[in-house]
């Protein structure tokens, strides 16, 4: 856990060196008044406090520089800052219980030895940040709650398993991540430290302060607290650091190629292949750019992986912004699965499926996954629902549904178009049609093929049988409650019914038209053109 109490002002000072000359305070509009929302330590030493009126603060210290706080900007900046810490541990998240920025949680399980032990790791991280001008305190502890408490209310240290109960007991109750009102109540009860709260009978606390008990349990490890890492979790990764930052897209792509060769070797050693690949670019100014993409099938072919990133990169050229340079590139694979090496025999018949999967990968890496589609059948009678287009990259399909052997057009309009159709008699074959400003004389036709509306998909009430008339209750008998009728429109089976016709004009062009609704008194159904026959 790293705690950066003055992160907002430190960040602004780092971004604009001009601000370093004078003490800085950020204010915020709360209920019509201007209140201080963030301060640097010089301000605190000189009698300013958070939540103070801006005018008072200026009176106390005229040299103060004040700026309005821009919370969304600070939050995104802190997010980038957190991502940059993934060079220390892959699991990083921002703790937003008390403040939207300022608290970083790193899961260092199995990482500390890379830095030479936990103490050394904490020291490295803290010194690294202090050199950048951030005031920071940190703690390493067995639970997230304990680390938070120690980093906020004690000196930076590594808390060992055996000593941490004693250490926590001595800390004030504010170290339990509680809200203001709860802290006030605890103060009125005379409970100052965590130890005192723990000695208080648990039963009587439970009714009023379940939140406090939860926090205590979390801090002492009785309840497990989870963190949600900001960056995607990866199983296998390779990385390349640079002494001099690189910035050209070509250099990045070349590095990606080298890394994919490495990654492929790592995967091969374990007999695995990946389906999702992530590229992380760590910028010098503590931002991380990520690019993730999917392959159609599990692969570990380095050329293919590099190609996928190259195609995507060509499309993203305008958005690519290396800033002052990139000092680390990391390539990772996730969604890994078994992929055994295959020996290609001299006499086996070549199959085209692998090449097709590759082509689909290439196409969708450049055009976007929604541009490369295949047809999936759906069990429905409505033509527009009977088939839907799904991305080829969307993974395995369910068992395919066979299309019913019905006469259907080879091309379907995504939106049926309204046409004006004249027929000799209301239910006869259409005789003429006007479509897109052109009139067609229809000489032959086949139909109707009647398709009912799918009542089970309508948000409407179905009337099946007449409800029985309410009987008068006999004396001594309870009255029967009337049946429940939902507050929905009554489903009208006629309005949604379609009659489909195959029609041909005098030159031979063939269309699929339908009439929505049935002819009845006061109802004029509308005709639509839905598809084209060969």
């Amino acid at each position: 856990m790293l705690h950066l109490p003055y992160w907002a002002t430190d960040y602004l000072k780092r971004a604009e060196p001009r601000l370093k000359e004078n003490p800085l305070a950020l204010y915020e509009r709360i209920k019509g008044g201007l209140r201080l929302a963030a301060l640097d330590p010089e301000g605190l030493q000189n009698g300013l406090r958070l939540g103070q009126n801006l005018a008072d603060a200026r009176a106390i210290w005229p040299a103060l520089t004040v700026l309005e706080i821009d919370r969304p900007r600070l939050e995104t900046a802190f997010g980038d800052f957190a991502d940059w810490h993934s060079n220390a541990s892959p699991l990083v998240s921002v703790m937003t219980d008390i403040s939207r920025f300022g608290d970083l949680v790193l899961d260092i399980t199995g990482v500390a030895h890379l830095f030479g032990g936990e103490t050394e790791m904490l020291r490295t991280l803290i010194i690294r940040l202090r050199k950048l001008g951030y005031r920071v305190s940190g703690a390493i502890a067995p639970t997230i709650g304990a680390a938070w408490a120690v980093s906020h209310f004690a000196r930076s240290q590594v808390v060992e398993d055996d000593s941490f109960a004693a250490l926590l007991d001595a800390l004030p109750v504010a170290a339990l991540r509680l809200e203001e009102s709860q802290l006030l109540t605890l103060g009125q009860m005379g409970l100052k430290t965590i130890g005192q709260v723990r000695q208080y009978p648990r039963k009587s606390l439970h009714t009023r302060f379940s939140q406090i008990l939860l926090r205590i349990d979390q801090a002492f490890g009785a309840i497990e607290e989870r963190m949600t890492p900001r960056l995607p979790l990866v199983d296998h990764l390779v990385e390349q650091r640079f002494a001099d930052p690189i910035s050209l897209m070509d250099d990045v792509l070349r590095t990606t190629h080298d890394l994919s060769v490495k990654l492929s070797k790592t995967l091969e050693a374990e007999g695995l292949g990946g389906q999702t690949f992530h590229l992380f670019l760590y910028r010098v100014d503590h931002k991380v750019m990520t690019l993730s993409l999917n392959a159609g099938r599990v692969t570990r072919d380095p050329e293919h992986i590099a190609d996928l990133f190259r195609h995507r990169a060509q499309r993203l050229e305008t958005e690519y912004d290396p800033g002052f340079g990139i000092d680390m590139v990391r390539l990772a694979a996730s969604s890994t699965d078994r992929l055994d090496a295959v020996q290609t025999g001299a006499f086996s018949i070549e199959e085209g499926t692998e090449d097709i999967a590759r082509l689909n990968d290439r196409l969708s890496s450049r055009l976007g996954p929604l541009a490369v589609l295949r047809t999936e059948m759906v069990a429905s009678r409505l033509p527009e629902r009977a088939a839907r287009l799904v991305p080829t990259q969307s993974g395995q399909t369910d068992a395919p549904i066979a299309a019913p052997p019905l006469q259907r057009p080879v091309k379907l309009l995504p939106m049926p178009e309204i046409v004006a159709i004249m027929a000799e008699v209301p239910h006869g074959l259409p005789a003429s049609m006007v479509w897109r400003g052109e009139s067609f004389r229809l000489v032959s036709g086949q139909g109707p093929e009647r398709l009912g509306a799918e009542w089970w998909r309508k948000q409407e009430r179905l009337k099946l049988v007449e409800p029985p008339k309410p009987k008068k209750p006999e004396p001594g008998e309870k009255p029967v409650p009337p049946p429940y009728i939902p507050d929905l429109l009554l489903f009208n089976p006629d309005a949604g019914t379609r009659d489909y016709y195959v029609v041909e004009d005098q030159h031979g062009s063939r269309f699929w038209v339908f009439r929505q609704g049935l002819y009845s008194k006061g109802n004029r159904p509308i005709w639509y053109l839905h598809g084209f026959f060969p």
């Binding site: 499926t353 097709i356 541009a371 598809g531």
Partner: protein, 267 residues
């Protein structure tokens, strides 16, 4: 005696021309499709065919014509047909419809639909697919005459198509013909359909009048009257007058089209 000598001389002349152009002789391995009178020839893989119809109302016919040919090109090695279309033209021309393909005799799983945003991506996607040797055929649908799809672009496509033996069908619309390096250019005109076996008022099997506007099929036949059957085409009558199309038939190609024609035929 005379014929071999003449052929040798022709070959020498071709080499000379290639030298002048400072590039190797055009590597188009596609032979001129053979044809016999009375049947529609089975066209070999690797051809670029443009299929022109008058408007969106016949888009189903041109798609069916391309699909019937593509179906015969499907093998275990070449298992997929690609269909490329600009995303915003789908609303105008419609999209290939799975159950309809099934009715037509093509497994919808074998058709991949690529919807691209603009013409640059269209050409890129078409060329990428043409370069893949596991693709049986590509059906690309274009509205009007986009500037980017010029002679150079179509020349690139036709070279790739014949090198990889992938057939490319360009479904085009309208009356205007621009120069292109396609091997064959068809004009498809629908014809009144045949008799339905059980219903006199219903349309029967689809019939088309096809006219070859560019390129040659051995036998020099230019007009075919075709009927679409489950397993290919059948000729249902001798070519007759063009009906309403007679008056509107455009001039047989502009000068650049002739130039393109000659280039694509040199081999």
């Amino acid at each position: 005696m005379q014929a071999p000598e003449r052929q040798q001389r022709l070959a020498a002349l071709r080499d000379t021309i290639a030298d002048i152009e400072r590039k190797p002789a055009l590597a188009e391995a596609v032979n001129r499709p053979r044809g016999e009178p009375g049947i529609f020839p089975a066209l070999p893989a690797g051809l670029v065919q443009e299929v022109y119809v008058d408007g969106a109302r016949d888009s189903g016919a041109s798609l069916a014509f391309a699909l019937t040919q593509a179906k015969s090109l499907l093998t275990a090695r070449r298992s997929t047909i690609y269909y490329v279309q600009l995303a915003d033209e789908g609303k105008h021309f419609g999209l290939p419809y799975g159950p309809g393909l099934h009715w037509f005799g093509i497994d919808p799983a074998k058709l991949v639909i690529v919807r691209v945003a603009d013409m640059t991506e269209f050409l890129w996607a078409t060329e990428e697919a043409t370069a893949c040797r596991a693709v049986a055929a590509i059906i690309a649908e274009v509205k009007g005459n986009p500037k980017l799809l010029n002679f150079t672009a179509s020349r690139r496509l036709s070279l790739r198509a014949s090198a990889n033996r992938v057939s490319l069908f360009m479904l085009r619309y309208g009356q205007r013909r621009e120069s292109s390096a396609g091997h064959l250019r068809w004009r498809l005109m629908p014809h009144r359909s045949g008799r339905h076996a059980f219903d006199d008022r219903a349309p029967g099997a689809a019939r088309w009048h096809l006219r070859l506007e560019k390129g040659r099929i051995a036998g020099n036949q230019l007009d075919w009257m075709l009927e679409a059957r489950k397993n290919g085409f059948a000729i249902f009558s001798k070519p007759v007058g063009l009906g309403r199309y007679q008056a509107e038939t455009p001039l047989p190609g502009a000068a650049p089209a002739l130039l393109g024609h000659r280039l694509s035929q040199a081999s």
